[in-house]
């Protein structure tokens, strides 16, 4: 853990915002209406770290990842990777830098080309980045990487539909790894898999991380899996990070009222464990008409007048974690 904190930050996200234009008002004289999906989030990833981004649907966790991958352009904010700014990169430079950040999608069938054999898909990134010259080397490299994700050479000649869901996700992982990326972004990589297969893929991810020292941004709604896999966790709610810190500290003693109720809502497969029956009331408000002040105040058990007027900033607390809540700033226990 000590060495990790010594490492430098390789990806710094600063004040990242994203608003989407609503298509409903097409008339030129009509006022354009936007929906704010991300409201200025800040975080950074250190080399070798595994950051878990958690939250319920619509909280902006996938949008964040897609902006880093340049699938969406941010409305505001910067993303710094080492010394280069990722937003606004073009041409060869973009290709060169982006090669070091790879992405794994939730649905492996959708991410693979049904008409290309597995092996060809795995080495296709090499063709794109290094040309066609050494195709036999590429094949050899693809086979060895296929074996390192726990599959056999015969699978390389197969097509995606001949594989099981877990095997497909391994292929997607192999393809992402073939360029030796520094950062791997996994967007719900196990949600589509069966319970018994999830552990296989997660153990594989942990092995890859150990062997290659890869930096991981892991997006999931499965908090137990994030606790297991990631050493740092950021909790998001309606486009904001509400709590961010070391996973063990955060899960053992959540401070933000949203983190608390989120963790409390996750069922534990042990009937002997009895917990307080604190269930969050209400639902996530619409992003089209977000609450004023702190976005969580209408559902918050400890909300006060101030919370509906001002938005709390993400502030560092005594134990090194960050949280955005007025009650915490004053040291009141929530």
């Amino acid at each position: 853990m000590e060495t990790l904190t010594m490492n430098r930050e390789i990806l710094v996200v600063n004040n990242l915002s994203k608003k989407f234009l609503l298509k409903k008002h097409k008339m030129p004289w009509g006022r354009k209406k936007y929906v704010n999906v991300l409201n200025g989030i800040d975080f950074s990833i250190r080399k070798g770290e595994a950051l878990g981004l958690v939250g319920e649907s619509g909280c902006g966790k996938s949008t964040t990842a897609k902006i880093i991958m340049d699938i969406y352009t941010p409305s505001e904010g910067t993303i710094k990777y080492h010394s280069s700014e990722l937003t606004g990169l073009k041409g060869e430079e973009k290709k060169r830098i982006r090669k070091d950040i790879q992405y794994v999608f939730q649905d492996p069938m959708g991410a693979l080309n049904p008409r290309i054999s597995v092996l060809e898909q795995i080495y296709e990134p090499l063709l794109i980045h290094y040309g066609r010259k050494n195709i036999n080397d590429y094949r050899r490299k693809a086979v060895s990487i296929l074996e390192s994700v726990g599959m056999k050479e015969v699978h390389g000649r197969m097509y995606p539909h001949q594989l099981s869901g877990g095997q497909r996700q391994r292929v997607v992982l192999a393809r992402a790894m073939i360029l030796d990326p520094e950062i791997l972004i996994c967007d719900e990589p196990i949600s589509a898999l069966d319970v018994s297969i999830q552990a296989q893929v997660v153990n594989l991810l942990m092995k890859i991380r150990e062997e290659r020292g890869i930096t991981l941004l892991f997006i999931s709604h499965d908090l137990s899996m994030v606790r297991h896999l990631c050493n740092v966790t950021a909790v998001m709610y309606m486009g904001n990070i509400v709590e961010h810190g070391d996973s063990e500290i955060l899960f053992n003693n959540p401070l933000h009222p949203y983190t608390k109720s989120l963790i409390n809502a996750i069922p534990i497969p042990d009937p002997r464990v009895k917990r307080e029956d604190v269930i969050l009331e209400g639902e996530i408000p619409s992003l089209l008409n977000p609450p004023s002040g702190c976005r969580f105040h209408p559902r918050c058990p400890v909300a006060r007048k101030e919370c509906s007027v001002n938005k709390p900033e993400l502030k560092t607390l005594g134990d090194g974690r960050k949280a955005a809540c007025f009650a915490l700033e004053e040291g009141v226990s929530v």
């Binding site: 319920e56 649907s57 099981s164 877990g166 095997q167 069966d194 319970v195 018994s196 297969i197 999830q198 552990a199 296989q200 997660v202 153990n203 709604h221 908090l223 137990s224 899996m225 606790r227 297991h228 896999l229 063990e248 899960f251 109720s261 989120l262 963790i263 409390n264 809502a265 996750i266 069922p267 534990i268 497969p269 042990d270 009937p271 002997r272 464990v273 029956d277 269930i279 969050l280 009331e281 639902e283 996530i284």
Partner: protein
């Protein structure tokens, strides 16, 4: 507990599909009992046969499937009932809710109209007028925790959130006041905080109306927090069943053990995850013996060809020749 007459008794049930899976059954000899007022968890991965078992209880497979065995509800065999009889059972005696509530509802009718339709279909309404039915519908929506029910009556399913649509489905289900509810993954598509609300609602309904519930899920956590008893299914068969306190605390079947040890916990730090190697088998090439034999850590020579019979330990039963030791914990 054992002396209580079961509400539903499934005996040696086989279910298959016509024209797929090479005619091989996907449910292969399931025995289960559901007692009045209990919540019974049916756990398994996709393809384990848990949903198909539920569909055959209310005969929803229709022409597509064939069934063998007995499904005794109170004193009738549902599988032998005439079409008229089964219509009088569905909704009134046994009701069902599904994973995707929005596609269970009609998108072009208001939720109020759909709820009122359910009430008129299921109640003796000769002496009632529309106003009374409407009042009853509003009361049901209030009972399932929908805020501002009068206004919601006039809204369409797409205007409601996933959790609220599931509440509407529960209200429709309640209108028939059934004795047994089959809930097929009712919270899988919902966020965890909403899942907790819906599970709490189901527990409240069970308590107030003494309704038995079969809760189909793949989440052992949901089972632990909601169910009284649970049956773990794999490859079309029940692997282990009994009180949740025993099945989830001291699993004896290697599959139950594997499932429990392959999932990390939110409340404690787990060093490493157990992996069940291999993949879920297709119903077409399941072995004669235990369906789990190919992936089992305790497999023996006789597992492949012989079907293990039930071993009973108190209230719990498991089907395994070589069970895991009681109280075994996955060591990392």
């Amino acid at each position: 507990m054992n002396n209580i007459n079961p509400l539903l008794k499934i005996k040696d049930l086989y279910v298959g599909f016509n024209g797929s899976h090479e005619g091989k059954p996907v449910v292969r000899g399931v025995d289960l009992e559901v007692r009045p007022g209990e919540i019974m968890g049916l756990v398994g991965e996709s393809g384990s046969g848990k949903s198909v078992t539920c569909y055959s209880i209310v005969r929803l497979l229709g022409e597509r499937g064939w069934t063998e065995g007995e499904v005794i509800f109170e004193d009738r065999d549902v599988l032998e009932c005439s079409e008229n009889e089964i219509v009088s059972i569905r909704g009134k005696e046994i009701a069902m809710i599904f994973q995707d509530a929005q596609s269970s509802l009609n998108p072009v009718q208001t939720v109020g109209r759909q709820l009122m339709e359910a009430i008129t279909l299921r109640k003796d309404i000769k002496n009632k007028n529309v106003g009374d039915i409407r009042k009853e519908a509003v009361a049901l929506l209030r009972e399932v925790g929908i805020p501002d029910p009068e206004r919601r009556m006039g809204e369409f399913p797409h205007q409601l959130s996933g959790g609220q649509n599931q509440r509407v489905m529960i209200a429709i289900m309640l209108s028939g006041n059934p004795k047994l509810l089959i809930a097929d993954e009712p919270t899988t598509a919902l966020d965890v905080t909403i899942q907790a609300q819906i599970l709490r609602l189901l527990k409240k309904i069970r308590k107030e109306r003494n309704m038995a519930i079969i809760l189909v899920t793949h989440d052992l956590g949901v089972v632990a927090e909601t169910c009284d008893r649970a049956a773990v299914m794999y490859g079309g068969r029940v692997m282990e069943y009994g009180p949740v306190d025993e099945v989830l605390v001291k699993p004896r079947h290697p599959y139950t053990f594997g499932l429990l040890s392959s999932k990390p916990r939110i409340d404690i730090k787990v060093e490493s995850l157990y992996t069940i190697e291999g993949v879920v088998p297709s119903p077409v090439n399941l072995p004669e013996g235990c369906p789990f034999c190919e992936r089992c850590m305790n497999v023996r020579d006789n597992c492949r060809d012989n079907r293990p019979s039930a071993t009973s330990e108190g209230m719990r039963h498991f089907f395994c020749f070589n069970p895991v030791e009681e109280g075994l914990v996955w060591k990392h």
